[in-house]
Amino acid sequence: MSLLRYTDLRVGFRQDGSVVEAVTGVSFSVEKGETVALVGESGSGKSVTALSSVNLLPDTAEITGSITYQGQELVGASEKELRKLRGNDISFIFQEPMTSLNPLHTLEKQLSEVLLIHHGMTGTAARVRVIELLEQVGIHDPESRLKDYPHQLSGGQRQRVMIAMALANDPELLIADEPTTALDVTIQAQILELLRELKDRLGMSMLFITHDLNIVRKIADRVCVMKDGEIVETGPTALIFDNPQHPYTQMLLAAAATGRPDPVPEDAKVVAETEKLRIWFPVQRGFLRKTVGYVKAVNAASFSVREGETVGIVGESGSGKTTLALAMMRLISSQGPVVVLGQDIQGWSNRQLRPLRADMQIVFQDPFGSLSPRMTVAQIIAEGLSVHKVEGYASSEEAVIDIMREVGLDPETRHRYPHEFSGGQRQRIAIARAMILRPRLLVLDEPTSALDMTVQVQIVELLRKLQVTHKLAYLFISHDLRVVRALSHKVMVMKRGDVVEAGDADVIFDAPKEAYTRALVAAAFDLKVEEGAGL
């Protein structure tokens, strides 16, 4: 008998009287001690499939079909029965470690709550078990951390605590919903290793949901590939990777940002440069706001970027790469020269900067947050035209249509609102908004991180094409080394505000000098934990 078996599961969501089908007839099973991966792009229904098992879906969901856990039917089961399963036999780990823990409770309280609910464990017994659990998930010196609050932990540690909570009741089945997506590459490798080890030691089964095929290859025994609410292909991991049958699986496997950027001519002009740029935020205390210290976001960063050239800035979260980019755009204050098109714009007022803004533009990470939901696409793209003049167009309408065609959007859709577009299309809109002003320098702040692999590839291609046509200088920020490799001429590795290593991309990737760079490269390309890298 399978541990968990889905038979022809269908899930629909009611909205405004009509039902939108998210999952259309999914059947698969998870055997004891097995890891099954559900893979698919965003919107393929993989999370909905997982959450429907113990009915964690909103009230508007309509579930039909059958889900059995050790022979017990779960579809239509009473809330009381389901609650007994949740957290006890079936545990969950979610994507976002920041919001999955209650910020007002200490670690001990969060963990012992689980023990109290399902086992009635209190006092010393609970405390001993909590310490044991924290040890199990690799938190050092757990006794001293019991009274810590979530904000005192790093992202990786929080995810470890989440795993400890999920393991508290020795579950038979662990459902992990993109547990490493929000983490840095090096932490991601550590968490994956931990999960695999725990699964073997405790004899659990695991249902692993992810969009990243590299992770699947590392961790799963069997793979189910989902597309538009259906499983299009399923089989043992090795078989699927070596010999994919379905065209969609083949496309997913082939989707990786490859290639190298076009070389830059020797005599290309410098568009932007800086020398020992420092960004320190003062920490002020007391009544007189005396400066008692600094948060050192960036220490002494130097680089220059030429026409048609891309400088990639890589590093983990908190390394100061976005801060550096915002300082180059003069959106936050900094100390040191900021030279754009030969002029040092440090200390210029907003009014002075305004004409120059057309020459330096920025594209943000989150394609959902960076477009105003209350404006049509045409209004969003044309916004810059209300401030700056662009030569060669009779009307802003014409300019919008032209730029939409250039970034690969259908100009007919310009009167729609952002929510009607997919993530990749939204990112194209954001690029169009920046490109309509014909900038010389484009800062790209993680433009591909929130996108599916196949869409990432398309955006990378678009960026490459735009760079060649318009001789653009890119400042490309990403934690995704594959994309950086595909786009950058030069690379700068940052760690906690310091530039660890900088130079030509090929040199950095093929022969990294610093231990930290080596660890990053190993984690990103092989999902391996490099020992002794001082992480």
Binding site: D16, F364, L371, S372, V387
Partner: protein, 368 residues
């Protein structure tokens, strides 16, 4: 004007809430009718035909001499003498025995002579809010066929006062709500957008302002400047604008870190445009959620001030004043019941409407 898809969805959601939708229709009809209160309850006729000429006393002053009377003051149309003059075409005998003459004039012939018969078109209620009702009985007098809800303690028709009072209350709350929201949104927007020191100083000013005893200030101002409608409007705004500052400020503080705000800044868009085009729409939903409390609160403020005797001048048709009379004249229950039902219906309708509006703007609410 076409609505955006978002607004279309909101309108659909609002329509789906039948209680709110019907409340809106009923309230619109009531308020629409009360806008034409002069045609519903007035002591002057709408149209007069006298000797072949047409007169509109509702808009224009006519001395009694115009209709063949003696006085050069305005004709008092509800007097039998004036009615007789109009209907008989200005016969002098009207001053002696108007009632018989009016009876006689119905067939158009008096004493064998043909007369120039005239007529008057009256509103359904022949009293304005300040018309003294003649006739026997002590004030306040009980409901009769003439005074449907009786009269108040100075013998004024209660129905007429309710119609005018309703209009005045709604007008007052609309003016005050719109103006104080306007001020509040601007103040909240500036605080939230600039944050930091501006925000800090402004917040302290607000705290001091909020601690002011508004009732005393109103009493003192009225004592110095004399009571008037517009002074009351001004004072209510003066103490009411702070209601929205909190939510708008919070929305702006939240929105100023959005990426699309940052993108607009990178495009070089000016502060004013960013606030107006990008951030204000975000604050509107929160504002709309607060608005019902402001609107009903202002009606309550007006009522309580009137009730305490510090509100509108006594010549105004005030529902609060009627409530005060009801308290002083418990032997006249029609006053109390009328005041209670008027307020209950008016406030319930408003609350139902805004409840529907708030739900319609809630993106997480699903309607089946």
């Amino acid at each position: 004007m076409t609505l955006s898809p978002l607004n279309q969805r909101r309108w659909r959601n609002f329509r789906a809430n039948r209680r709110a939708f019907w409340s809106l229709i009923i309230f619109s009809i009531l308020f629409g009718l009360s806008l034409f209160a002069e045609f519903l309850a007035n002591d002057k006729p709408i149209l007069v035909q006298y000797r072949g000429g047409y007169y509109m006393p509702i808009f224009k002053f006519y001395p009694e001499t115009e209709f063949g009377g003696d006085f050069r003051t305005e004709a008092v149309y509800r007097y039998a003498e004036v009615q007789c003059l109009v209907e008989t075409g200005g016969m002098v005998d009207c001053f002696d025995d108007p009632d018989t003459l009016i009876e006689d004039a119905k067939d158009g012939v008096i004493n064998g002579d043909k007369i120039e018969k005239g007529w008057m078109l009256w509103p359904p209620i022949r009293y304005s809010f300040n018309t003294q009702v003649e006739g026997p009985g002590a004030a306040p007098s009980a409901p009769t066929s003439q005074n449907w809800l009786g009269t108040d303690d100075t013998k004024r028709d209660v129905v007429a006062r309710v119609i005018y009072g309703f209009r005045l209350s709604v007008f007052f709350t609309l003016i005050v709500s719109v103006l104080s929201s306007f001020v509040g949104i601007i103040a909240g927007a500036l605080q939230g957008f600039f944050g930091g020191r501006t925000d800090l100083i402004f917040q302290r000013i607000l705290e001091i302002w909020g601690a002011m005893p508004s009732l005393y200030v109103i009493i003192i101002l009225f004592a110095i400047l004399g009571r008037s409608f517009w002074l009351l409007v001004m004072v209510t705004i003066l103490f009411g604008w702070t209601a929205l500052v909190g939510v708008v400020r919070a929305e702006f503080l939240r929105a100023r870190n959005f990426e699309y705000i940052r993108a607009a800044r990178a495009l070089g868009v000016s502060n004013g445009t960013i606030m107006f085009r990008h951030m204000l729409p975000n604050a509107m939903v929160a504002t709309l959620t607060m608005l019902p409390f402001i609107v009903t609160g202002n009606i309550g403020t007006l009522a309580s001030l009137d009730f305490l005797g510090f509100g509108l001048p006594s010549s105004y048709p005030s529902l609060g004043e009627m409530t005060l009379q009801a308290k002083q004249n418990l032997q006249a229950p029609w006053l109390g019941f009328t005041a209670f039902f008027t307020y209950a219906i008016m406030l319930s309708l408003l609350v139902f409407i805004f409840e529907g509006v708030r739900d319609a703007f809630d993106p997480r609410k699903t309607f089946r």
